[in-house]
Amino acid sequence: MTDLVIGLGSPDGGDDAVGLWVARRVAALGLPGVAVIEHEDPTGLIDVWGQADLALVVDAVRSGAAPGALFVLAAGADAPPLTADAWARTGRGGTHAFGLAAAVELARALHRLPPRLVLVGVEAATVEHSTSLSATVQDALPAAVAAVVGALARQLPAQHQIPAQEVDLDVSR
């Protein structure tokens, strides 16, 4: 079954586009058995990740951490639900934008979560209208790509594995 990398974000929302940038870099690697897509609307994720066994969603994060900081969370069907706290601080906390966390938990309620789902967040410096990333987030792209590839590597044949991971992930089944 194909693994799926989803870059989530708005292409002209400044660092909100970081998921798309990471997705493009991962796509350029041409990893076998890995599909890469860009997506803008979290409510559509439930259809996008469809039958994937492993899906990775890369998105911008605003947590108050240093811009460029990387966050990784296992959130698939086999992982515990995101906490109420996570809800409050992601999409559910109050927006039209039905956010990523809301999409994850809605899919869980409908039994439409991939068995393994990994969320990779990159702390944004700015989400003002712009078609470019901030320098700090630009610098964080290699680590974010490594995080994605690291998660995928658990599924890849040995010759495609990345030897040195900058970020360790728990994607255990």
Partner: protein
């Protein structure tokens, strides 16, 4: 949150993900068993967009103002287009107007489906939110997601993107979709129409609190059809005026507790824009199918109970699915995607019906097209006084409730308006001051 991993003790965090569009709060004062001050507080940054637009080119507002809202960018794009084309003395052909209407149908579908199923229905079915409701009513929520997906597909085909369309330009579109492309959407739209009719039947079974709004309703009314992408202004007070005269009738004023301006009509009390106003002022313009669905759901030709707005939104879903199918079936290839809109000095006015009500734009241009002045009146700012008035009426009968229950009821009542401050799901930070 922090999350302890099992394989190395690494502590991980997921903080606030992006695309949060606003915050709001409600302040309620209760003195001696009576409701005192009721203030809907909107913490959105002041509307710097109007200042930001000054000095920009006349071709830019459709793209710039679309960023104000992630759920109704088409409304901003087309209100801006209407106003700027008016300023430049350009009237677009019916084909362009029709394609705008089709794209707008997609936005209504996206917005209404999300609000009905994931934000509003949980209030009536007794769930804290759409996720909890999905566990017990998966078929209903799947139906809502299916509806929204069709809206996304329509937006993607006509607008080039499902969220912020990139195919829209002043004077029309960069490219028109073809008959073949539009025909590809027909099966999904037909299924969507069936889902929309089922939605009307579903929500009509909910229990609705008694509340009749005495306020004036205001909506657009076009020469033909249900108001979506154009029209002049009509009200239940019997007034009717051209969009050009909007500033003479609508006065915006600042109130200390909100960053969003309040609006009043002809110096009077609260007025309401949105589905109830559109429906009440334009029932005769609904398609026979939508009218029949409304009647079967127990609606008359007017509706003044804000809680029943969920039925009206569902009827409007039937209307826009029917309309989208009608437009697709009549479409012919070979029409010009746009007309030139050369700059000239002047002032222009434009309004369209965003999913949650009339959105007005005004621009004043220099002779080279530089924007000298811009004004944007969004629907939620117009509805703020009515929301507060509803709260005052309702809270009087809810005073015995705990703060927690009162907060929940107030949230639900505010969701009747599908407010664009931040939307509906638990945005409300209610403070109650009891003395």
């Amino acid at each position: 949150m922090s999350h302890k991993l099992t394989d190395g003790g690494q502590v991980l965090h997921v903080g606030t993900l992006s695309r949060v569009e606003g915050e709001g709060g409600m302040h309620l004062e209760i003195h001696d068993g009576h409701v005192g001050a009721v203030e809907l507080r909107i913490f959105e940054p002041p509307r710097f967009y109007e200042a930001f637009l000054r000095g920009r080119s006349w071709t830019e507002p459709p793209d710039i103002t679309a960023r104000i809202c992630g759920i109704c960018p088409v409304a901003y794009q087309f209100s801006a287009c209407n106003a700027l084309e008016d300023a430049c003395g350009v009237s677009v052909p019916d084909t362009i107007r029709t394609m705008r209407r089709l794209l707008y149908c997609g936005e209504w579908i996206e917005s209404h489906a999300l609000h009905i199923y994931l934000l509003h229905a949980p209030d009536f079915l007794g769930y804290p939110g759409g996720i909890e409701m999905a566990k017990d009513h998966p078929a209903a929520v799947e139906q809502g997601l299916r509806l929204k997906k069709v809206g996304n597909e329509l937006m993607t085909l006509v607008g080039g993107r499902s969220v912020h369309p990139i195919n829209v330009k002043l004077g029309g579109f960069y490219r028109m979709p073809t008959v073949a492309e539009l025909g590809g959407l027909r099966p999904a739209l037909e299924r969507g129409l069936e889902d929309a009719l089922a939605t009307v039947r579903l929500v009509s079974t909910f229990d609705f609190p008694d509340l009749e709004q005495p306020y004036t309703y205001l909506s657009l009314r076009p020469e033909q059809g249900y108001p979506i992408e154009s029209g002049s202004v009509v009200t239940t007070a019997g007034t009717a005026f051209d969009v050009r005269d909007f500033p003479e009738h609508i006065t915006e004023h600042h109130v200390a507790h909100s960053n969003a301006l309040h609006a009043s009509l002809d110096g009077g009390g609260p007025y309401v824009v949105g589905p109830l106003a559109r429906y009440t002022l334009n029932f005769d313009r609904l398609s026979p199918l939508a009218q029949q669905a409304a009647r079967e759901a127990g609606l008359g030709e007017t509706c003044r109970n804000p809680f029943r707005s969920i039925i009206v939104r569902s009827v409007e879903l039937v209307e826009v699915f029917s309309e989208a199918l009608r437009i697709i079936d009549a479409w012919r290839d070979g029409t010009a995607p746009s007309v030139p809109v050369p700059a000239r000095a002047g002032e222009g006015f434009g309004a369209t019906e965003a999913p949650r009500g009339v959105l007005f734009h005004r621009y004043r241009l220099d002779d080279d097209g530089t924007i000298l002045d811009a004004q944007i009146v969004p629907p939620t700012s117009q509805n703020q006084p009515s929301i507060e008035a509803d709260m005052r009426t309702l809270a009087e009968s809810w005073l015995e409730l705990s703060d927690h229950d009162l907060s929940h009821r107030c949230e639900a009542a505010i969701r009747n308006y599908d407010p664009c401050i931040s939307c509906a799901t638990h945005f409300l930070d209610l403070t109650v001051e009891r003395t």
